[in-house]
Symmetry: C2
């Protein structure tokens, strides 16, 4: 194929600015949503795919088409185990992508579903997962309109991987993006942290906890729609999946070039989740959630926002957890319950592989 315009990828800046060595290999932590995931994007994907939409680094891309403002987002789901308290890979594959659209401020409309099946997967199990997807789609008000199925040889997959890609419509004039953050903005969270991470971890490791901790997996488009319809001036939204609250805050601070000050006392963690974290040596700030998000709003909109978040069935522990500082470095500081202050970091290694 002739390709005269493309020439040497190096000369076009397609390859990464810090060259990759032949020894560097993909690690589990590259998929963990922490520092290595971030580096892989910065060093490899962004230079190669470089374009204006991608550079905005949101949960999805927002673009104009025929007079409408649309959003598109994609996620592959590789969670293990496939079934866990509170959901399964099918529920997750619908809600996760619905939520990424919601975080763009879009009303989710249509999903595609791409299946990679491992030879030998029982068809009844596939059917259960597919029915979960339909139910989650009905609850979120989206339609699965197109799909694809591939099969890989036994031992070359892991039961089932699902990709969902979603399209949504922006029906307002808000610009929801990290660079909208202003000093004094309040940062809110819609409830307690860490149930998805612990649900997966406990079922994977066969932990015998006193209570069964269910994933918080849920669609967030309803509550985001409530905020938009109430006229809240949303500056940014971010869901707290892989990498948890810590990664979301650090990414936000870096993308916005703002200093964020967080107060630990506002962050709710259920006692059973806290207990499991202590047993497992995990930090709730790094735990994955599938029904939790941050919303950043001007201070005068914060009380109404909090009220709307608390009205949702799982939002009784919603809280204002911090604010955008007047000045300071592009990082996140946490005032702990003990009154000390520490810098919040993205997870650099691997805490919970294959959490979604």
């Amino acid at each position: 194929m002739a390709d005269p315009e493309n020439g040497n990828p190096l000369s076009r800046g397609l390859v990464c600015p810090t060259p990759l060595s032949a020894e560097e290999r993909v690690l589990l932590a590259h998929g963990g949503g922490g520092r290595l995931t971030h580096e892989l994007i910065e060093r490899l994907f962004l230079p190669a795919f470089r374009n204006d939409l991608l550079s905005r680094r949101h949960d999805g891309a927002v673009f104009d088409l025929g007079g409408s403002r649309l959003a598109i987002t994609t996620d592959s789901y590789v969670v293990q185990p496939l079934f866990f308290p509170g959901g399964d890979i099918g529920t997750l594959a619908v809600n996760g992508t619905v939520n990424d659209l919601a975080m763009c401020g879009a009303r989710p409309l249509y999903l595609s579903a791409g299946f990679i099946l491992e030879e030998g997967l029982p068809l009844q199990l596939l059917e259960q997962i597919v029915i979960s997807m339909r139910r989650a789609a009905d609850l979120a008000g989206v339609t699965i309109v197109t799909g694809d199925t591939k099969v890989v040889d036994r031992g070359k997959g892991d039961g089932i991987f699902i990709n969902t890609t979603g399209i949504g419509l922006l029906e307002h004039s808000l610009v929801i993006a990290p660079d909208r953050l202003l000093p004094g903005d309040q940062i809110l969270i819609n409830g307690d942290l860490g149930r998805h991470g612990i649900a997966i971890m406990a079922s994977r490791e066969g932990l015998n906890l006193e209570t069964v901790i269910e994933s918080d997996c849920a669609a967030l488009n309803g509550v985001v729609g409530d905020l938009i319809r109430a006229g809240i001036e949303i500056h940014c939204l971010r869901d707290l999946t892989r990498g948890g609250l810590a990664s979301a805050l650090v990414e936000l601070a870096e993308a916005a070039h703002r200093h964020l000050e967080i107060d630990e006392s506002g962050i709710a963690v259920r006692e059973d989740v806290q207990g499991a974290c202590e047993i497992l040596g995990l930090d709730p700030l790094h735990l994955a959630n599938e029904g939790r998000f941050l919303v950043v709003v001007p201070a005068n909109d914060a009380p109404r926002t909090l009220d709307l978040l608390r009205r949702t069935p799982t939002g009784t522990t919603a809280a204002i957890i911090g604010h955008v500082a007047e000045s300071g470095p592009s990082r996140v500081t946490l005032k702990t319950r003990l009154g000390t202050t520490r810098i919040v970091e993205m997870l650099s290694g691997e805490q919970l592989p294959r959490i979604c």
Copy 2:
């Protein structure tokens, strides 16, 4: 999660009409694009996801949004080997999805890219694939606007799987669908068959053929755009990927409820491809292609269509290969070069797993 409306999946018709037994398992042939893939869709996916858009059974879904007509399509790519003569998994992941949009009559605009990486994959290899994707996207005139990366443990994947989902715009009033087929319509193909299938098979099996057969992998949106702009009254388009020409024709006949009569003498197969088929015991009609498609047009548009197909660099062997019969059962008959007639069937087993 309360879900009062959904109730029993059986009562809502979400489960398949012919119940799945506990013994039934996913086979490689379920991903082969032949009879078993077809059955999996009919028995499992369609009943569960049931909706108007999905039921049209096209390569993608076409819907109206804010006054525009859009198409969405998804495909996961699991090809082995990752690099082959004429392309790699990255080229394929872009062109395959671009082509599915083109088959809906859409101008491809944006792609998402979801990566499932196996722990241990060399980063330089990933970089090569990602650069191939960018080049293929530039050639096809599409932009990769959003992405996702997951990592699975060593031995739970196979180097790299890629999902791409595409959005395109329909800029004409044609309705391109199997049910538009009319008696007397002519069926054309844009060139010779089987090079992708043989390229993969030969490199996978380490076959030492006299010539290196390169995949025909290419974007088809250019030539489809030419046909649309020329005012050709396109009734249907279908690309000849998994399952090859045979599956495409049989699916078309079944979906259109029409009898298709094909003349083998019109179908071009290069001598080296024919030779490889004989060595390997393969039927060129079942071989996968990644740059070939069928177009069905009214008889009076056929000469102009043929002319436009032949003007493309790889279209010199484009031909009229058959027509829609006045009546007869919903199947495909082939007049062979020997003058006999046979029924064309979808592949029922597995010919070439993981061809795309």
